[in-house]
């Protein structure tokens, strides 16, 4: 009997299969985490990633991680679009103390990390870069924990607003620092100025164009929720793809897109978009891959004291900024404290940012990279738990969730 119709064993692992298996692993780990440990599902996704990743079982090797980068970009693009669309200029105009609080939160956090890294003997320019990377709160963690808990209220709203502000702040500071990093690498002044300009300003222009297109098309389509959903998702995906192939910053492009389409929609032609269950699929993959990319061996290089200082000062800076303006911006100091805890998650994006920085500017140094990467490991694990704790403690989580 000829059995040639049977495939060779074991069957080849296709991309599609990998994607599906990752989803199911993430699902199982997330659910187990929530049921048996009472922790956020995200922590489960991250741990599943750690287990599957190169550090432990190696089922997900670095090739697989590289190939998955497009999925990661897609997930991040969706998140930061939502984040941008929640940055409500009107609120900041009506409550300028809140704007002050959000700026102070980012600024104190940045300065705190910068000063302590300089104190530990790192070069000021690199210390500033590492500080800027650490200023951003993870938009993905913040939004996903909020969705999971269905939390609502002042701490929740301000958490989303502040992470939008500190993400924008972090990218602005990085854009300003990059030319100096280039000069450090003895690259011509032209490239030093033009490349960062291209990456950031180009991305902002792309985001602006996408937002104009979204508003024009939404006006033409009319107020049909299903059609508008397709429109917005289509534009988000296309913008991510374009930013990717033009080598522009995906985050800056999408945050700009979200921010402008929301705030410049004076005729209110765009309906509120709820990405909902579809987006969940990408989030599971995002955190799983973030877990797989965590670099535990960074701990071997980084001094524990520096990492601990980085994490603690980062939190204290955020807390100080928020507490100073808590009453003026309209919340009690206790809630401002919870807000600072909620903003603890550090973006997994930092891993990408650090790797890119080290590739482009080798003098950034292994050691400082290891400090940031170690901080990411710590905060990727405790961040979601902190956010969940803060939202529950503030009484803003839905009681049964």
């Amino acid at each position: 009997m000829d059995l040639a119709f049977l495939p060779a064993l074991p069957p080849a692992v296709s991309q599609l299969m990998l994607f599906g298996v990752l989803l199911l692993c993430g699902l199982a780990a997330g659910e187990a985490m929530r049921r048996y440990a009472g922790l956020p599902r995200i922590t489960g996704y991250v741990l599943a990633g750690v287990l599957l990743g190169p550090q432990v079982t190696g089922l997900l090797d670095s090739d697989a991680l590289f190939e998955a980068r497009l999925i990661v970009d897609l997930a991040i693009g969706l998140v930061v679009f939502e984040l941008g669309s929640r940055l409500d200029f009107g609120w900041l105009r009506r409550n300028q103390w809140l704007f002050a609080a959000a700026l102070a939160e980012a600024l104190f956090c940045f300065l705190g990390i910068y000063v302590s890294l300089v104190f530990f003997g790192f070069a000021p320019l690199f210390a500033a870069t590492a500080a800027a990377i650490g200023t951003a709160s993870s938009p993905a963690v913040v939004l996903l924990v909020q969705q999971e808990l269905r939390s609502e209220g002042q701490v929740t709203e301000r958490m989303i607003l502040c992470s939008a502000v500190n993400t924008v702040f972090a990218y602005l500071v990085l854009a300003l620092l990059l030319p100096f990093l280039y000069i450090e690498e003895k690259v011509g002044l032209g490239t030093a100025v033009l490349h960062p300009m291209y990456v950031f300003v180009g991305a902002a222009v792309l985001g602006f164009l996408a937002s104009r297109l979204a508003l024009l098309a939404a006006r033409w389509i009319g107020k049909d929720e299903d059609r508008q959903f397709v429109l917005v998702v289509g534009l988000i995906v296309a913008t991510i793809g374009l930013a990717h192939s033009l080598r522009l910053s995906v985050v800056v492009a999408l945050v700009t897109f979200g921010m402008l389409s929301r705030n410049f929609d004076s005729a209110h032609v765009l309906l509120p978009v709820r990405l909902g269950h579809g987006a969940q699929i990408f989030f599971v993959i995002l955190f799983l891959l973030a877990g797989a990319s965590l670099e535990f061996h960074a701990f071997e290089i980084a001094a524990a004291a520096v990492v601990a200082t980085y994490v603690i000062v980062r939190f204290l800076g955020k807390a100080a900024g928020l507490l100073v303006f808590s009453r003026a911006s309209g919340i009690a100091p206790a809630k401002a404290g919870l807000l600072a805890v909620a903003l603890l998650p550090m973006s997994g994006l930092a891993v990408v940012m650090v790797r890119d920085t080290v590739t482009l500017y080798p003098s950034f140094g292994r050691e400082l990279a290891a400090v940031v990467l170690s901080a990411v490991v710590v905060l990727e694990l405790i961040g979601p738990i902190a956010t969940q704790f803060a939202l529950r403690r503030a009484g803003e989580a839905r009681p049964e969730s």
């Binding site: 409500d88 009506r94 809140l98 269905r150 709203e157 009319g222 107020k223 309906l271 309209g330």
Partner: protein
């Protein structure tokens, strides 16, 4: 509230008045109901305000309480002070405030109960009805010099329940659908077992007999458990009209109060009729017509048995009581309300028109918030 206090009617100045307005708190980014009452109330607590702002059953509602007034003009002035304070403080917390009897598309299952003992008890007893009760009404208090006057006025004003429903109707949308009603809110109230109207009692003594019996049966614990269209409120010395949707503006709320005051002035002064059971025979028919069709609905007069359009009946009655409106000082406001009836556009019609023009319920909510914010 002790039982004794409730059984003792504390007389108050005839025709004094006050209103309560339940308001919606809305999130600007998706225009759904917000969870913000506690934070907003904490902020408002630090202001010196006339009247009061209080929590309501879910965290998406607050209630404005006016103080006691003798004139509708001063009532309107005070409501505007409260309105501005609430809108300003809500702005700081990125909340919007809106009138209207229902939120057009919120999902009742998402509502959270304001954590105080009374509300938690209501939820334990009534289950999902309590969350579905996230509807927004205006209550009008009219002062009565004696308990028997209060009983008399409740009977007499019951004939006008359809008027107040049609004049205030502002809940055409519910759970994301056009209900085809002018006021869909009333249906949410009717689901409660103790909804309805006061029994046909001759005077306060007979009312107390009924009330004490209901308490002994353990059916009610206090007067608050009766969700009647109009009920006596002995501790304030008032009767309370509870059928109105919260209008889209404070001005309309004051106009409704002026009309109630003028009607009370007419009945207490002239005592033109005696209470009859026929008032309650036609009541549910009239009430339904008003909630469903508004001014265009039909009303049966309990005394003559004649049927006419509710809009026409309102204008006829307003003309009849005009001298009393003048005496109570509310004639201009009642005349303005008559203009609304002639114009034929209720708040519900306005909301529907916004929906037709804008195409989405979220836009209707945004426009209603804007109307509340800008109209004196």
């Amino acid at each position: 509230m002790s039982a004794d206090q409730e059984e003792h009617f504390k007389p108050s100045a005839a025709l004094s008045l006050g209103v309560e307005l339940e308001l919606q708190l809305v999130k600007p980014h998706d225009l759904d109901l917000a969870r913000g009452a506690a934070d907003l109330l904490a902020r408002l607590d630090r202001r010196k305000l006339p009247g009061a702002v209080k929590p309501e059953i879910t965290e998406s509602m607050i209630e404005l309480n006016s103080s006691v007034h003798s004139s509708c003009e001063s009532l309107l002035e005070e409501l505007n002070v409260l309105r501005k304070a609430v809108v300003d403080d809500a702005g700081v917390l990125n909340l919007r405030v809106s009138g209207g009897g229902s939120h057009p598309f919120h999902d009742w299952a998402d509502r959270r109960i304001f954590p105080n003992e009374r509300f938690i008890n209501v939820v334990q007893r009534y289950g999902y009805l309590a969350k579905q009760f996230t509807v927004f009404g205006q209550h009008i208090h009219i002062g009565c010099p004696s308990a028997d006057d209060a009983v008399y006025l409740v009977h007499m004003l019951t004939r006008y329940v359809p008027h107040f429903i049609a004049l205030s109707a502002a809940s055409p949308f519910y759970q994301g659908e056009d209900t085809s009603y002018q006021s869909s809110r009333l249906t949410a109230v009717s689901a409660f077992p103790l909804a309805g109207h006061m029994p046909f009692v001759a005077d306060w003594a007979e009312f107390l007999e009924y009330y004490v019996k209901m308490k002994r049966f353990g059916i009610v614990a206090s007067m608050k458990d009766f969700y009647w269209d109009i009920r006596p409120k002995p501790e304030y010395g008032t009767i309370e009209i509870r059928v109105c949707d919260t209008p889209l503006t404070v001005r309309r709320a004051a106009l409704l109060a002026a009309y109630a005051q003028a009607l009370a002035a007419y009945y207490l002064a002239d005592r033109p009729r005696k209470p009859e059971r026929s008032i309650y025979l036609v009541n549910s028919f009239n009430r339904f017509e008003a909630a469903r069709f508004g001014f265009a609905g039909e009303l049966i007069d309990p005394w003559s048995g004649e049927k006419r359009r509710i809009g026409e009946d309102i204008l006829a009655e307003m003309a009849r009581i005009e001298p009393h409106a003048t005496r109570a000082g509310g004639d201009e406001l009642v005349a303005e309300l008559a203009g609304v009836v002639r114009g034929g556009v209720s708040d519900a019609d306005w909301l529907r028109a916004r929906h037709r023009e804008r195409g989405a319920l979220a836009d209707v909510v945004r426009d209603a918030c804007e109307k509340w914010r800008t109209h004196n």
